[in-house]
């Protein structure tokens, strides 16, 4: 216990007296306490930093997991379907209008359908669409090879049995107009798409002259944003029916809700454990310095000054720990984002004040309890080691 022995040199004393006596002494004591007892101070600071880092990472993830999982859910494909009313086609500018309403917050893909006949008279559904966009919209499609050239078709696994079992070029007829197509690849989905032949919209319109009847939209954003989008689309394309795909939106809401709830529970548990750990370490640290406390009291310092000193010390520790922890925590969150979601988690600066306030509060609580205990004792008793 040699923290505040009086081996200051004369010029240091003079310097101290020349300055504002209270502030400089206060700072001096703070600094010396940190330097001279660096072992204990470091372990308290370490605990504080780790706790703040864990809390920062948890809060960042909690905010970000929604965004990340929504992105995964967009792989489900469309969450809004725009269908022409009975027996009509969509207006020619419908796709442009829809894309303008989306304004980059989603993907819109047109589909046109006809029933064509194969050379041996069997019927098959042929669809014209924007193949590049479909590839992005329906990530679950299992495609052996995407068409690239003109008059190349993507043939559903079941349709392939009908049109061309050996993968040779095949003919299709629609209202006396014929087209010869080569099979670029096969498509497996486990649903109705497997019974269809997909062409690029250009080839399809040149052949059949039929315009799209359906636009599938994958709108990104929260459920509220998606329903606003549905309303905007109803306004924008009055000639069509706009239907949200409820099954997907409900699953999404459910999964997101449960995940966030679980994450919140985990965050509370982890932050609580970390706080208790910090509390224990800091209390031990402050309590350990009861001799400093006693000496100050014996030298005539007021209780307010001493309490202020210990509280200031704890608050400084909390703040430094919080800042360091915040930086580390952002790194941890970014790493988790990269490892788990293949995309970094954006640092949320809004978390910083929360972490800072929380850390300083925990540090102050940790300082107040031992001080309250020490205040009751006589300095002489403490110095005697009782």
């Amino acid at each position: 216990m040699n923290s505040l022995s009086s081996h200051d040199s004369a010029d240091q004393v003079a310097k101290r007296r020349s300055g504002s006596p209270h502030i400089s002494m206060f700072m001096r004591m703070l600094l010396r306490a940190a330097v001279l007892r660096r072992g204990r101070a470091a372990s308290a600071l370490l605990a504080m930093t780790v706790a703040a880092a864990v809390a920062t990472a948890m809060l960042n993830l909690y905010v970000e997991v929604q965004v990340k999982l929504r992105k995964e859910f967009r792989n489900y494909g469309a969450n809004i379907v725009i269908v022409a009313k009975d027996g009509q086609v969509l207006p020619a500018n419908a796709l442009k209008t829809v894309e303008a309403s989306l304004a980059g917050r989603g993907l819109a893909v047109p589909f046109a359908y006809v029933v064509a006949r194969t050379s041996d008279g069997k019927s098959v559904v042929v669809s014209g669409t924007d193949l590049d966009q479909v590839r992005r919209l329906n990530a679950w499609w299992s495609v052996s090879h995407w068409p690239a050239a003109n008059n190349e078709a993507l043939v559903g696994a079941r349709a392939a049995q009908v049109v061309s079992a050996q993968g040779k070029p095949f003919d299709l007829r629609f209202q006396e107009r014929a087209i010869q197509l080569t099979q670029a690849g096969t498509l497996q989905t486990g649903a109705a798409e497997e019974g269809r032949v997909y062409l690029s919209l250009n080839d399809f319109e040149a052949w059949t002259g039929v315009a799209p009847t359906t636009i599938e939209v994958a709108a990104s954003g929260s459920p509220a944003e998606v329903s606003t989008m549905v309303n905007q689309l109803v306004q924008a394309v009055p000639a069509a029916e706009v239907r949200p795909v409820r099954q997907i939106m409900e699953s999404e809401a459910q999964v997101l809700g449960k995940t966030r709830a679980t994450l919140l529970a985990a965050a509370i548990l982890i932050i609580l454990t970390a706080s208790v750990c910090v509390l224990a370490t800091l209390m031990g640290w402050v309590f350990d310095r009861r001799r400093d406390f006693a000496i100050m009291k014996a030298l005539g310092a007021s209780e307010r000054l001493i309490s202020g000193f210990f509280a200031g010390e704890a608050a400084a520790l909390g703040a430094v720990g919080a800042l360091a922890g915040f930086v580390i925590g952002i790194g941890v969150a970014a790493w988790i984002g990269r490892a788990n979601f293949n995309a970094p988690v954006m640092p949320r600066l809004g978390v910083l004040p929360v972490i800072l306030a929380g850390s300083v509060a925990v540090a102050l609580i940790a300082a107040v309890v031992p001080i309250a205990l020490l205040r009751r004792g006589q300095p002489a008793m403490i110095l005697k080691g009782e």
Partner: protein, 403 residues
Amino acid sequence: MAGVAIALGAGVATAMIGVATDVGDKISLELRRNHANLVVTPQEDTLDLEIGGVNLKPPSDGAFLNEADLPKIKSTFWRNAILGFAPMLPVSVRLGGANDSQDVTLLGTYFSKPYSYGKDNFITGVRTTSGSWRVVGDWPTDDSQNVLLGERLAAKTGKKPGDTVTIAGQPHVVSGILSTGGVEDDQIVAPLAVAQQILGKPGAVRRVYVSALTKPEDAFARRDPKTLTGAMYDRWYCSPYAQSIAYQLQEVIPFSHAEQIRQVEQTEGTVLSRIKGLMLLLTLAALFASVLAVSAAMATAIFERRHEIGLMKALGAGKAAVAAIFFAEAALLAVIGGALGFVGGSLLAQRIGRSIFDSQITIQPVLFPMILAIAILVSFAGSAVPIRRAVMFDPVYALRGEA
């Protein structure tokens, strides 16, 4: 203080491990209640001509599955992973009287039909496999002649629950209005027997949707079972991949083709593996926080007892003896705290399970020795440095209070 920290740390670790290992299953269970992930169709079926949910193929065309084969679904190896199935038989019918009739699709299915296979009794139908279907009014029973009207169809015809509609010349009571957000909103949904009666093919089923709990697909899952040999085949067959469950369904239902619905299966596979990964990382973070809490508390506890150590040494105790005493204490503390923490953590995990997922989270008993081992290890690690320092110290200084 150290005991409390150990109990707290063990509790948090137990709860997190329990939740993290269960959260994937819980979420996939909920998703499976929302939509099926496998479909069984007749092998030699003609091509469907489906545009926007309306099938242009003549209803009697093509092949059918036999309703009598369906209970065999519950005889597959992974029968416990199969939550339910719903057969579908769409037929096109004329709705309404002679003057204002229209052609609509009537979908025959099970709503919640009790079934038994061997000793198993279970209830299956769309109420199990399509959790997002909502009905205003009542669900029809499977042995009745009552039907559900899709919500857009009901709006078009102005029918309400309790009204009577004429379907293919026969009167049927509308027991409820169905809203699914899909093509069924334009259709009539009726008990399977009604659809079979209209079609004139008793026992006919067009396709069967199956909800099964599966494991996300990996490279091994995509292997063709025909190319696998012996032990590899057994491993593939006995893993709950969507592929192997589909393969087993094909085995039990004659002349059938079973396949995963990729939109559901693939997307959910990714989402679930992301959530599981996140929970795993969080469990690691929780373990780390617990380790930190315990070792900090142990260090503080021992540091505060340096006088005691000084006294022991002054009285002639050797370094080994002092260290042994403290490690023994740490072990005792770890066992008691770990056990208390395990119990508390299990209760906590159950509470979390009940409040978030409305179902129990079961903590595997095998976790208990693991948690105890971790607790002992961590408290040893936390005590090692302070014990070492205390033991090295000259007892005179320790006793004088200058440690």
